[in-house]
C-alpha cells in the first residue's frame, strides 16, 4: 500500500469540470496528506485525460485517485487508470465478487492502491469476507442522489471500527463539507475523509477546508 497506516488523509474529490479542478488544485496546500480524486463524472466526461491532467496540475508526487467505480472488466479498467497516472482506483462493492477479486489482483500488479466503494452495500463485512485478498482501502459512503432524496440515510460511522477491528485495511468515509464534520469522521476512526465542493460553494472554501484539516488534524 502506498498510503501510511498512521497518517490521516483528506481526500478532495473533483466532480465538476477540469477548469474548476484547476482552480481548486491551485489553491490547495501542498501536503502528502491531501489526496486528489478525479471523480466519476469527470472520468466519464473527459476519459482518462481527466486523470493525467489532474496529475499534471497537482504538485509533483501528489496521490491521485481515479474514481472509476469499476463494475466489470476490472483488468481493463485498472490498466487504463494506472497508465493514466492514478495511484489508486475504485471498484464497486456491489459488483460481482469475481470482478472485485480481479480488480484487487490487477491493482497489485500495477502497484496502485485498491479502494472498494461500499455504496448501497448493506454489510461491508459480508463483502470483505467473500474476497480472496483484501483491498487496501474500504470506502463507506452515501451516494449524492441518496443523500439528496432520502435525508434520513446516514453515513454508517459505526461500521468503521467494525471493519478495522476485523481487517487490516484503511477506511475512508465521506465527511461532509465543514471541518466539524471532518473531525467527526476522524473521531470515529476514519483514516481518510472524503470531501467535495458543492455547487453553492466557492473553490476557496474547499481549499480552506484543506488548510484547516492540516492544521487541526495530525
Amino acid at each position: 500500500m502506498i498510503l501510511e497506516k498512521r497518517k490521516k488523509y483528506l481526500h478532495v474529490a473533483l466532480n465538476s469540470t477540469l477548469e474548476e479542478a484547476a482552480e481548486i488544485i491551485s489553491q490547495l496546500p501542498v501536503s502528502d496528506r491531501i489526496l486528489i480524486e478525479a471523480g466519476t463524472p469527470l472520468i466519464k466526461i473527459y476519459g482518462t485525460e481527466a486523470i493525467s491532467q489532474i496529475k499534471e496540475m497537482a504538485s509533483v508526487g501528489t496521490y491521485v485517485v481515479a474514481d472509476n467505480k469499476c463494475a466489470d472488466l476490472a483488468a481493463r479498467e485498472v490498466e487504463m487508470m494506472a497508465n493514466a497516472g492514478a495511484n489508486a482506483s475504485t471498484c464497486l462493492g456491489v459488483a460481482p465478487i469475481e470482478t472485485i477479486d480481479s480488480f484487487i489482483e490487477e491493482c497489485q500488479k500495477f502497484n496502485i492502491d485498491s479502494m472498494i466503494d461500499m455504496m448501497n452495500v448493506e454489510s461491508a463485512l459480508a463483502v470483505l469476507k467473500k474476497l480472496k485478498k483484501l483491498p487496501d482501502i474500504v470506502m463507506l459512503h452515501r451516494g449524492v442522489d441518496e443523500s439528496e432524496f432520502s435525508k434520513e440515510k446516514q453515513i454508517p460511522y459505526y461500521q468503521i471500527k467494525q471493519i478495522k477491528g476485523n481487517y487490516n485495511v484503511l477506511v475512508a468515509v465521506a465527511g461532509g463539507d465543514t471541518i466539524r464534520e471532518v473531525q467527526r469522521a476522524i473521531f470515529n476512526d476514519a483514516d481518510i475523509v472524503v470531501v467535495w465542493k458543492n455547487f453553492y460553494q466557492s473553490s476557496t472554501e474547499t481549499a480552506q477546508l484543506a488548510g484547516s484539516f492540516l492544521k487541526e488534524i495530525k
Partner: protein, 222 residues
C-alpha cells in the same frame, strides 16, 4: 425510439477509437444494429468517444444512428445523463445495483433529455424486486452476466426464464440480454423473447473480422 416489434443486435465497442472507426465502416448498414459505446471506451475517451461513434455510424447508415452509452451509472444520475445525451447518445445505462434514488433520478433525466433509459441487472438475483420499487419503468431492462463473472465462474447462467415473467408483468418494457457471446447464445436469447441481444467479445478479439461476424449474427435477428 426503438420499435417494439423489431429485434436488435447491439454491438459493444471497446477498442481504441481508430480501430472502432474502421470496424464501424465495415458493418452492414442495417437499422437492426445498435452501436454501444462500452464502459471502458467511455472511461477512456469520455464524451468525445460517444460523439465519434454517433458520427461514424450516422455516416454509414446515412441517418441518425442509435447509440447506447454504457454509462453504468451508480450515482449522480442527472449529471451523467445530461453529459451523454449532450454527446449524442440515444440511450444510457444505469446499474440496477445503484441506490433506488439514483435509478429514479436516472429514468427521469433520460425522459427529460429525450433518450431511452436502460437498467442493467448485472449481479441482481431478482430484477423484479428492483422494478417494483421504481417510480417509473425504464425503457429497457438488461439481463446481464458480467464478463468477469463469465470468465471466472462458468456455472452462473443468464436468467432467460425472467424474460417472459418481466414482459408478462410490465407489458411495455423491452428486454435486452447481455453476456452470451456465441451465435447459439444469441439464438437462445431471441427464442426466449428478448428484444435486444448484446455482444462484443468476438468483435473485440478479431476486429479485422467485423464484417463477417456482423453478417453472421445479423442472420439470427429475424
Amino acid at each position: 425510439m426503438l420499435n417494439q416489434r423489431s429485434k436488435y443486435l447491439q454491438i459493444a465497442f471497446n477498442r481504441s477509437l481508430d480501430e472502432v472507426r474502421d470496424m464501424i465502416a465495415t458493418l452492414p448498414a442495417s437499422e437492426k444494429i445498435i452501436i454501444e459505446a462500452g464502459t471502458p471506451l467511455i472511461k477512456k475517451y469520455g464524451k468525445k468517444g460517444i460523439t465519434a461513434l454517433k458520427e461514424w455510424w450516422g455516416e454509414k447508415i446515412q441517418k441518425s444512428g442509435y447509440i447506447v452509452a454504457d454509462l453504468k451509472c451508480m450515482d449522480r444520475g442527472s449529471r451523467e445523463v445530461e453529459a451523454v445525451a449532450d454527446a449524442g447518445a440515444s440511450a444510457a445505462t444505469c446499474l440496477g445495483l445503484a441506490p433506488i434514488e439514483t435509478i429514479n433520478e436516472f429514468i427521469r433525466e433520460c425522459e427529460k433529455a429525450g433518450i431511452d433509459s436502460m437498467v442493467d441487472m448485472m449481479n441482481i438475483e431478482f430484477p423484479f424486486e428492483i422494478l417494483q420499487k421504481l417510480k417509473k419503468l425504464p425503457t429497457v431492462v438488461v439481463l446481464h452476466r458480467g464478463a468477469d463473472e463469465n470468465e471466472r465462474n462458468r456455472e452462473k447462467q443468464i436468467p432467460h426464464d425472467q424474460i417472459h415473467r418481466i414482459k408478462g408483468t410490465y407489458g411495455n418494457v423491452l428486454i435486452s440480454v447481455a453476456g452470451g457471446e456465441t451465435p447459439r447464445d444469441v439464438v437462445r436469447t431471441f427464442f426466449n423473447d428478448s428484444d435486444i441481444a448484446v455482444i462484443w467479445r468476438s468483435f473485440y478479439e478479431a476486429p479485422e473480422n467485423t464484417a463477417n461476424l456482423a453478417q453472421e449474427f445479423l442472420k439470427l435477428v429475424k
